[in-house]
């Protein structure tokens, strides 16, 4: 499988076992179908405000999810539905938060960009570009302080990679050898501004080099390549050697948010990516090569559709939060 701008393809044959491929496929398809449904509900006016879809980038969270261990933490930006589903948060709870209902993870008080799960060690869901990088570094500080053995996965886009606090965080994490895996999801566009127009650094994987943080550029459309890189990076972090940076070359099919007319790129570019680089189709082709037959894919499609349908129904029928929710959760103990 070729890469987009020169990320090395994975080597040494299949990186994923049959079980891992099946799990990755299931998770990627769940994210894809969930997001398509979210787009649909947005169009119907059931989801409001800002809604940023993850479609196209599924291999990144699925591959990293395979490499994560129980207790590992994760945090990301506002394009967060994929991370949440892979972290093990329920499709029902996430979708109901999108519709602003009582059954949502934040009881409807957070919305698409602000969801958390203590149980799944998912720390949001952040609407301020780059803020999650410093906060995520703090998740790793807790691990270093408590010696709990966890690695913190800190996702951010190539747009956020121009924020100053990203480099403040790199410095702090390297100084204190924090178990922090930084993942740049380079989908080429920070809203409507292409990487070429926003970043003088042409190879983002080198952006942490001044702090001696090891890094790799990865084909983020190849779930096996993502898994292989994440596994190696997380072993580095877990062994006490400090942070690691992975640049995932990926692509989002949809606009920046639902209200993005996407005039900054040609339709043909999106179509070409979908046709030739789709991460789910690529994995499926590989799985077929490994003898997994059509009945598996049909069954997963059916399961995932049922999960998403159930989530949407729950999200539409869950009541709106009670007016008394206005005043709860402002402070602990009140």
């Amino acid at each position: 499988m070729g890469s987009m701008t020169g990320a090395p393809s994975r080597q040494n044959g299949p990186a994923l076992s049959k079980e891992e491929m099946e799990r990755a496929y299931r998770e990627m398809l769940l994210v894809r179908r969930f997001e398509e449904k979210a787009g649909q509900l947005y169009g119907m006016g059931l989801i409001g405000g800002f809604c940023h879809l993850y479609i196209g980038q599924e291999a990144v969270v699925a591959g990293i999810g395979l490499a994560m261990k129980k207790g590992d933490r994760s945090i990301t930006s506002y394009r967060d539905h994929g991370q949440m589903l892979v972290a093990g948060m329920t499709a029902r709870g996430v979708m109901a938060e999108l519709t602003g209902r009582a059954g949502g993870y934040s009881h409807g008080k957070g919305g698409s960009m602000h969801m958390f799960s203590k149980e799944q060690e998912f720390y949001g869901g952040h609407g301020i570009v780059g803020a999650q990088v410093a906060i995520g570094t703090g998740l790793a500080l807790t691990s270093a302080y408590k010696k709990d053995g966890a690695v913190s996965i800190v996702y951010f886009g190539e747009g956020a990679s121009n924020q100053g606090q990203v480099y403040e965080s790199f410095n702090l994490a390297a100084l204190h050898k924090l178990p922090c895996l930084y993942v740049i999801e380079n989908n080429r566009y920070g809203m409507g501004t292409s990487i070429e127009r926003s970043s003088a650094s042409k190879d983002l994987s080198k952006n942490a080099a001044p702090w001696g943080i090891p890094s790799r550029k990865v084909d983020g459309m190849d779930v096996a390549a993502v898994y292989q890189a994440a596994k190696e990076a997380m072993e580095h972090c877990r062994s006490g050697k400090g942070p690691f940076l992975l640049e995932m070359e990926t692509y989002r099919y949809r606009g920046h948010s639902m209200s993005d007319p996407a005039k900054y790129r040609k339709r043909s570019e999106v179509d070409e990516m979908r046709r030739t680089r789709d991460p789910i189709e690529a994995l499926k082709a590989e799985m077929i090569k490994h003898g997994i037959d059509e009945s598996f894919f049909k069954a997963v499609e059916k399961d995932v559709k049922a999960t998403v349908k159930d989530a949407a129904e729950f999200a539409e029928t869950s009541p709106e939060p009670d007016a008394s929710e206005l005043w709860t959760d402002v402070l602990v103990g009140e």
Binding site: E36, K37, Q40, G43, M44, G45, G48, F50, R73, I75, G104, Y105, S106, K109, G110, H114, F116, S117, K118, Y123, G124, G125, I128, A131, A134, I135, G136, T137, G138, L141, T142, Y145, K146, G164, Q165, E168, S169, N171, L172, Y253, M258, S259, P261, A262, R267, R274, E316, P319, E320, A323, S324, L326, W327, T328, D329, V330, L331, V332, G333, E334
Partner: protein, 457 residues
């Protein structure tokens, strides 16, 4: 089964749009992600993608139609192999039904429910803490941190020069020796980064104390204090908590110029999700900082550099702590209420002495906490004295004094014998020149003048 394709909402505010062009025509096979039509909104022309796979069976709204309401069926999608007549059987239902369904659920109360009575109401009488010893505010702050760090392994201090240098203002003196580098962490000059990092640590199970060399530098990190620390509990529906302390010297020091001389009292007191305390005496400093460290919420502690070296009697009891949210009456009086915090408490007490010489008996309230404000103590005092003057070092516009005067008017209007008054720092960046700086900051005489005015002088 045939299903309707609805006019989509393509932005948070879109209610209707123009169906500019059908890209697909009746009979075409469509796949998810394929553009089927172009929709013009008030902002832009957007491409509408198919969500489901199928055949475009029938177009219901022709291209060029304006004012198509969101959720109006615009076409019928057939499953492959299904006959176009399946569209006839489709109940296209009331237009815009899903949207209406949501709106039906929105209760339309005349007004939002009121805030619940604050449960931060604390016992009205402070316990007797017994024996005291004279210590400086600097020592009181250090002792508070040391006591809490001994009590709870999860508490640690981070900031610039807090460890090896022993604190830029020597507040953390001795802490590195006792607790080691793991719990007293020197930070590079990188407030935005280390504050965000500390917030992340607090969210995930430890209790950082962030020292800003001065609160002026908290502006570099203000996004994390407000957006990350104060709001996360609410945005997570109560799942997350952020037990963190942001502390450092606040307000004017002595001739350090405009960028290093300002009060952040009203800045931080404005934010729901934060608590804000502003100690004056050594006892305030020790008791309030201990309470701040134990509080499960983010607490901003506004200290004062000039007060660091001042000595006050402080209870020696090792359990000594003060409640957040409770003001202290430093001087009882019957003629006028002076409300102050931090270094201005001392200035108000001096003014009270001057007023006493003139036969006016002033009551002086030390707020101690700016959020939640101890309204009860203020109002009780105003009802006794019928006059109120707020005193603060910060600027007048939208300041703490504005809040205090408003509360007095709202809750004790009938008891007032004179309009509430504010004494504030001048509404200018603080100047460097010794004489100008002195002219810009409140002094006892300003308070006396404000009070005399209330008595009709």
């Amino acid at each position: 089964m045939a299903s309707p394709i609805l006019m989509p909402a393509l932005s948070p505010t879109m209610e209707e749009g123009t169906l500019a062009r059908w890209v697909k025509k009746e009979g075409d096979v469509v796949k998810p992600g394929e553009v089927i039509a172009e929709i013009e909104t008030d902002k832009a022309t957007m491409e509408m993608e198919a969500v489901e796979e199928g055949v475009l069976g029938r177009i219901l709204i022709t291209e060029g139609t304006d004012h198509v309401a969101v959720n109006t069926p615009i076409a019928v999608l057939l499953e492959e192999g299904e006959d176009a007549s399946a569209a006839d059987a489709l109940d296209l239902g009331p237009k815009a039904e899903p949207k209406a369904k949501v709106e039906k659920n929105i209760p339309a109360p005349a007004s939002a429910p009121k805030a619940p009575a604050s449960s931060s109401t604390v016992e009205t009488t402070e316990p007797e803490w017994g024996e005291t010893a004279e210590i400086t505010v600097r020592e009181a702050l250090r002792d508070a941190m040391a006591a809490e760090m001994r009590r709870d392994e999860d508490v640690f201090l981070l900031g610039e020069e807090v460890a090896q240098y022993q604190g830029a203002y020597k507040v953390s003196q001795g802490l590195l020796d006792e607790f080691g580098a793991k719990r007293v962490m020197d930070m590079p000059i990188t407030e935005h980064g280390f504050t965000g990092m500390a917030v992340g640590a607090a969210l995930s199970g430890v209790k950082p104390i962030v020292e800003f060399m001065t609160m002026n530098f908290s502006l570099q990190a203000v996004d994390h204090i407000i957006n990350s620390a104060a709001k996360t509990r609410y945005m997570s529906g109560g799942q997350m908590s952020c037990p963190i302390v942001f502390r450092g010297p606040n307000g004017a020091a002595a001739r350090v110029g405009a960028q290093h001389s300002q009060c952040f009292g009203s800045w931080y007191a404005h934010i729901p999700g934060l608590k804000v305390v502003a100690p004056w005496s050594a006892a305030d400093a020790k008791g309030l900082l201990r309470a701040a460290i134990r509080d499960p919420n983010p607490v901003v502690v506004l200290e004062n550099e000039i007060l660091y070296g001042k000595k006050f009697p402080c209870p020696v009891d090792e359990d000594f702590i003060l409640p957040i949210g409770k003001a202290k009456i430093e001087r009882e009086g019957k003629d006028v209420t002076l409300v102050a915090f931090s270094i201005m408490v001392g200035v108000a007490l001096e003014a009270a002495e001057l007023l006493a010489e003139q036969g006016i008996d002033a009551e002086v309230i030390n707020l101690r906490t700016l959020r939640p404000l101890d309204t009860e103590t203020i109002i009780k005092s105003v009802k006794k004295t019928s006059r109120i003057v707020s005193v603060e070092e910060g600027w007048p516009v939208a300041g703490i004094g504005s809040e205090i005067c408003t509360i007095a008017v709202e809750q004790a209007f009938d008891w007032l014998d004179a309009p509430p008054a504010r004494v504030c720092g001048l509404d200018i960046p603080l100047p460097y020149a010794a004489n100008l700086e002195k002219l810009a900051l409140p002094k006892p005489e300003w308070i006396v003048e404000a009070v005399r005015k209330q008595f009709g002088d």
